[in-house]
């Protein structure tokens, strides 16, 4: 089954025909995915549509049974989240993945701590705290995130600030793609706006963003394109400029067929081989 398909190198990330079965349960069935460079792509879908499975496959947290993921047109295979990180894909998971008792800097560098140069670092394994604090402060400043001190423990921050730190960390380490799994789900209105502004700034810094969200107003406010997931595969990909909110919901729930909306797909979909 050689797909009559050439990966599009202009896309930051692309996936063709991703499939994942758990015994009899089909979590993903021939799912396609495309993320243009420098865009914010919203991924929507009803509960159980398989959004999480798709995102995990893209983030390396799950190995699909079949299908292929491409980065900049090059095929990649992730066997762990670390593999995805190494090619520049960072994920902010739904459960706030910050250690609340550690400070902002320690969280930004957790698992990737910088050691001092020379013998101090190589033999005595001493942390270069000064350098890490400097870089953390720079990163927070570049993204317009204001905190009293980068030495503040996360538990002293508001929910929005905590999420901002998680996003800033992903943006700092992600060289290509930042995947955000419902980053505003636990936040109030004001904090949600602040995090959305932050996501826009991440895009301005040249990163491509995948945003999983349940909030249609939020999606229409920020997304360049909307990937609608249904029954384990992409039902449609649309532009918020040409498709109204109620149609997106209708396709998502199956009330409208997927060809009833104007497709905003950039690359031809993979030929279904089933």
């Amino acid at each position: 089954m050689t797909p009559v398909f050439a990966a599009d190198p202009s896309l930051a990330m692309q996936a063709i025909g991703l499939t994942k079965h758990y015994g009899q349960v089909v979590a993903m069935e021939g799912a396609d995915f495309e993320l243009a460079t420098g865009e914010i792509l919203a991924v929507v879908g009803d509960n159980g549509a398989g959004k999480s499975t798709l995102i995990k496959a893209l983030a390396g947290a799950l190995i699909p049974d079949s299908g292929q993921v491409y980065i900049d047109g090059e095929p990649v295979r992730f066997s762990s989240p670390l593999d995805a990180r190494l090619v520049g894909i960072e994920t902010v998971y739904q459960e706030l993945a910050v250690a609340t008792q550690l400070d902002i800097t320690q969280n930004m560098f957790l698992g990737r701590e910088v050691r001092k140069p020379g013998v101090l670092g190589s033999v005595l394994r001493q942390l270069d705290k000064k350098r890490m604090r400097q870089q953390a402060a720079e990163q927070m400043h570049n993204l317009g995130i204001r905190v009293q001190s980068i030495r503040q423990a996360i538990e002293t921050l508001s929910g929005g600030q905590r999420q901002a730190v998680a996003v800033a960390r992903a943006a700092a380490w992600g060289r290509k793609v930042v995947i955000l799994d419902e980053p505003t789900a636990a936040l109030g209105v004001r904090e949600t706006h602040q995090v959305l502004d932050l996501i826009r700034r991440v895009r301005e810094h040249g990163l491509s963003v995948v945003l999983i969200s349940h909030s249609m107003p939020e999606i229409f406010a920020i997304a360049d394109r909307i990937h609608i997931h249904r029954l384990g595969r992409r039902a449609a990909i649309v532009s918020p400029k040409t498709t109204v909110m109620s149609d997106v919901v209708a396709v998502m729930t199956g009330a409208l067929p997927s060809d009833a909306v104007v497709s905003a797909a950039l690359a031809p979909a993979g030929a279904p081989d089933f």
Partner: protein, 348 residues
């Protein structure tokens, strides 16, 4: 591990105050001075308690507050204090070790028995090996096979206590080797004896304090105690770090065994039966949270001194040792209560 370079996009961002995530009133992110935060957590409570104990016993007894007795308190601290360093590490990753005293006793018996008819260096090496191997088995079943630390180490406690007696056939081994008992000696200044054991205890505290506060491994230990999920999602190998914690604790138990032979040059398989509780007491009184992720070795150092100074002072005041146990028990409950109610045990 990735390249240690933050790949921040280079476009300088105009400082858009409207979009700032924090409250506008918050001062801007400021760079802090790179101060050495070797012991960066609250030890003021334990320190205050220690001072109160010293003041009370200085006023109520005539023998407590003199240089000779202070150096005695230090000497009485070294065994529990060294054990408590290993215990601190384990409690920092939300674990507990009920077997630490038994492992130490096994170490003394192994070393003592071999030294009684053989080479002292070999005896000491095998004593270290015994402690590290047993502690590593604890680490394996807890980190790899996910047994609850309380149950795993309770099981190990009874196994090792029995094994030490079987191995020694319930005999004690007087230790005559200079090497094995060297930690009980040291320079003396009149009534003040600064033993090598005391120096070793201080040195081990500093080394562990450095490892916990100045190395990537230390940050990860705290992160795991705080939130194992966050640590794992950030690429920390939680299983490996937790295993390393238990194995390293074994090294401290081995040093504690050496300290024990310096204090009392007899390897007795029935000795130090409540050393496990004493070590946990020292850690908890020192402000390390049983919930993990908070505390450290400076607190444990002070906590050890509190436990020992309290016993020493009550003895000087002529109070029955059973009352001393009641006092220590009450102190533990007070410390754990403070941990709970001051919100330090709460998960954010």
């Amino acid at each position: 591990m990735q390249a240690p370079e933050l790949t921040v996009a280079t476009v300088p961002q105009p400082d858009s105050t409207e979009g700032a995530v924090a409250a506008a009133a918050a001062p801007p992110a400021s760079l802090q001075r790179p101060t050495l935060r070797l012991f960066a957590y609250p030890i003021t409570g334990p320190l205050f308690a220690l001072i109160v104990i010293f003041v009370v016993f200085s006023l109520t007894t005539s023998t407590f507050m003199n240089a000779g007795n202070i150096s005695l308190i230090a000497q009485q601290s070294v065994v529990i204090g060294t054990l408590a360093l290993g215990q601190t590490l384990i409690i920092l990753v939300s674990g507990i070790d009920l077997a630490d005293g038994a492992i130490m006793v096994l170490g003394t018996v192994v070393a003592g028995s071999i030294a009684s008819h053989g080479d002292a260096v070999l005896a000491m090496a095998l004593g270290f090996v015994a402690c590290i191997v047993v502690a590593s088995i604890n680490g394996l079943v807890i980190a790899r096979f996910r047994l609850p630390p309380f149950i795993a180490t309770l099981g190990m406690f009874t196994i090792i206590a029995a094994a030490a007696r079987l191995y020694s056939q319930s005999r004690s081994f007087p230790v005559t080797s200079d090497l094995l008992s060297v930690l009980g000696s040291g320079p003396e200044f009149g009534t003040v004896a600064v033993t090598y054991g005391t120096m070793l205890w201080v040195a081990l505290t500093l080394v562990l304090g450095y490892a916990l506060n100045e190395t990537p491994w230390g940050v990860r230990v705290y992160a795991i105690g705080n939130s194992p999920i966050a640590a794992r999602l950030n690429g920390v190998n939680v299983t490996r770090v937790v295993f390393s914690v238990y194995a390293l604790a074994g090294v401290f138990y081995a040093f504690a065994a050496w300290q024990a032979l310096g204090r009392t040059p007899i390897a007795d398989p029935t000795g130090y039966q409540i050393a496990n509780l004493d070590s946990i007491t020292a850690v908890v009184i020192g402000g390390t949270s049983l919930f993990g992720g908070r505390g450290g070795v400076a607190g444990t150092f002070i906590g050890t001194l509190i436990v020992v100074a309290l016993k020493n002072g009550l003895t000087q005041a002529g109070i029955d040792s059973l009352y001393q146990q009641i006092a220590t028990g009450a102190l533990v409950m007070l410390a754990v209560g403070a941990d709970q109610y001051l919100g330090r045990g709460h998960r954010a």
